[in-house]
Symmetry: C2
Subunit: 147 residues, 2 copies
């Protein structure tokens, strides 16, 4: 199994790095002049978590807290996110504003339209089905405790 | 196809975000106190490209040039990378040092060992095989021109 795990991890990373590059290079959308890929990624994560602390955001994006602070500042300035007041004053939670949700929705659409076009002639329906089965399972495994 | 592409992109992103988090949280390796996930990721990319400019590195990591400059500075200080002199003096290329290669090798091993352990009881050999087939194909598609 080991050799194949090594190849699998390697392929996943390559598709992640070069896939992102390819989309950014290929798609000329005004949205992406205005918002950086890292800002869009931050919006995506906040959307997934609904409400999230900045330290958890830093963990999920694998960056230092200082880098996250500057991203958050920019997103707050652009009114894409807002701070939710909680009863515990030490804890600040972030969530998307309506404008933030809209930007993310547009960006998601551009992304999936492009990927759909890129794959449509080259990938069989059955392969997409297999991809979904494997990734649904991987998601479940990641969420489980233990190991 | 559209609905499934949306789900596929979404699952890929979830596995990317939460998988990284899970590995970082679960694996307690001295290497990761010394080097941040973003530094390891930078080493990985330099290794994949063998020699790379800082602007291409910024593109591949989806971050601003300023963020890349600070990462490069840290990696140079730790002697994990070096600047290759080229005939064109305006162009600076980066490559891994022996120490950099060693850190990356160790980190890759920790990563694949953990993922191997996490998957071994839960994923069939056949599913790994399908994952490899799909991702080899995705890698080829990404590398092709057009669209």
């Amino acid at each position: 199994m080991d050799e194949r795990i090594i190849e699998a991890v390697d392929l996943f990373q390559e598709v992640m790095f070069y896939g992102t590059e390819r989309v950014i290079r290929a798609v000329d959308n005004p949205l992406w002049n205005e918002y950086s890929p890292e800002q869009i990624q931050t919006l995506k994560l906040i959307s997934k978590e609904e409400k999230i602390t900045s330290s958890r955001l830093a963990l999920l994006q694998s960056v230092h807290k200082s880098a996250i602070s500057s991203r958050i500042k920019k997103l707050l300035q652009k009114d894409l996110i807002r701070i939710v007041q909680t009863e515990d004053r030490r804890e600040k939670l972030l969530e998307l504003t309506e404008a933030g949700k809209e930007v993310l929705e547009q960006s998601d659409k551009v992304l999936t339209d492009y990927i759909g076009k890129l794959l449509s002639d080259q990938v069989e329906d059955e392969e997409i089905e297999q991809f979904l089965i494997i990734f649904r399972k991987l998601k479940e495994i990641i969420k489980m405790d233990g190991v």
